[in-house]
Amino acid sequence: MTRLEVHSYLTHKLGNEPADCEDALCFNRENGCFAVADGATEAFDSGYWARILTRAWVRWPCTTAGELVALAALLAGRIDRRWQRKALPWYAEEKARHGAFAAFIGLQLSFRGDAVEWHAISAGDCCLIQLRNDDLVNAFPLSSPDDFGFRPVLLPSRDVGVATGATLRFDSGFARRGDRFLLLSDSVAQWFLRSYGAGVRDCNYFEGLLAKGLVEELDIFFDGMRASAAMKNDDIAVLRIAW
């Protein structure tokens, strides 16, 4: 998978500390696996949950509901043990009882001759976008900026089971040489789709900065977007994969 060109960008919500970031991303170039997760702000220790989900998935990729539920259940034990050893104040104990939640998207790429076959698995509103030249050829699981903000069903760390599996969504397809994939957490995905739909093409500028690895310019760009309310003030996680 060394033919893949991968760039990432991760930043925290304006006004927060870097350690407060609850978005996470991880990739494994060797097996062609990429993941982005967005820990739910209202839940307990969701940033940690997002981090261990992405790390585990790119190591042990699973593209069926049963496998992902099993992986999540295994990881959930880890997050429980992390807190059970500590004496928590009443409010933290109550919040911990409800567990952590995260939106998640995982992408697995496999070379098939001169094409790439891709499989994606999703919980919630993190998005996969497939680009070809200037065209958006696929957006999964949400394809319109109006689809965001409706309390998506997230991957929980408590009561992971059949019901969780039923909420997962799957997609697959093929990519041509020159196609690019973006994995995006929710607010940047919503902004990207709105920008693309409006023909504003700020999204092209953003992708260009990302492809050149210009992190400081990306910081300036997204700080401005969030400060002007063109984008919701939120954590941002982005992976760009090209080949």
Partner: protein, 278 residues
């Protein structure tokens, strides 16, 4: 656009609970055999404070997204928080979280997974106690709230505007509260005017009026005074009320007259909606 400020640690908002603790709050509330109004109201306020604390909990830390005031009025006008916080008229939510007067264990019905319900013990932090006695010095109480919100707004000029949740069961015994009430609603931050919501409760089971847009159906001048003291619900709050199954047309005010126990629960839920705007 007003009421759009992000609520954060550097830009917090404020909730002021103004609770009638007059003698009539000892009357029965709701169906026959139900408890006293003051017991029910103190439980709902404690539950609301609990929910505000939980919303600010990040792992083991509490983030100070809100400042909280609870003022009671009856025999006197005074801060109503008990325990270590007694006498404090305004506290950050982290201080509130760490200092309930006590934590009771209560039974809560939860699903047993087989279609039934089982009782489960839950911890119930208590910050205010049920109190009843004396008259209804509403003007003095509103003036106290205005004073503390003036100070708060001057220290947080760009914050989401403060919210006053006023619950009463009777007419003012120290004059006409209209002017002081409206002066609270006129307090501003750069994000808009203060939000004043009023819930009048009654032991009578009939005549409940919730979130009216005009005063046409209100029975007397007292009800109309409370109506005009209350703020028009911002659109997102109005939609929340509608989603709860309440009729709240455009222009609806944050006002309930002759409310029953369900009204009180809805009132505090709708009134603390800014807590969800982070």
């Amino acid at each position: 656009m007003p009421y759009a400020a992000e609520i954060s640690r550097s830009n917090p908002t404020c909730f002021a609970f103004l609770i009638d603790q007059s003698g009539s709050m000892a009357d029965q509330f709701g169906s026959e055999g139900a408890g006293r109004k003051c017991d029910f109201v103190s439980d709902v306020v404690n539950r609301t404070l609990h929910d505000l604390v939980i919303r600010c909990t990040k792992t083991e830390e509490i983030r100070n997204y809100y400042y909280i005031s609870v003022i009671g009025y009856g025999g006197s006008v005074q801060p109503a928080l008990a325990g270590h916080l007694a006498g404090k008229e305004l506290v950050a939510v982290a201080e509130l979280a760490d200092n309930p007067a006590r934590v009771e264990v209560r039974a809560k019905k939860v699903a047993d997974g087989a279609g039934g319900l089982v009782e489960q013990p839950v911890r119930f932090p208590v910050w205010i106690d049920a109190v009843s006695g004396g008259g209804t010095p509403m003007c003095e109480a509103l003036a106290a709230v205005r004073g503390l919100l003036e100070r708060w707004a001057s220290e947080h000029p760009h914050g989401f505007p403060p919210t006053v949740l006023h619950l009463t069961d009777g007419e003012s015994t120290d004059g006409d509260p209209a002017a002081v009430g409206q002066s609270i609603a006129a307090l501003q931050t750069s994000d808009g005017a203060s939000l004043v919501y009023t819930c009048h409760v009654s032991s009578r089971s009939a005549g409940k009026i919730e979130y009216p847009a005009n005063d046409a159906n209100l029975p007397d001048s007292f009800a109309k005074t409370l109506f005009w003291m209350s703020s028009v619900l911002p659109e997102s709050f109005r939609r929340t009320a509608v989603q709860m199954g309440l009729r709240a047309e455009e222009g609806a005010r944050g006002f309930v007259f002759n409310g029953d126990p369900a009204s009180v629960v809805h009132f505090f839920d709708i009134g603390t909606r800014p807590a969800n705007l982070r």
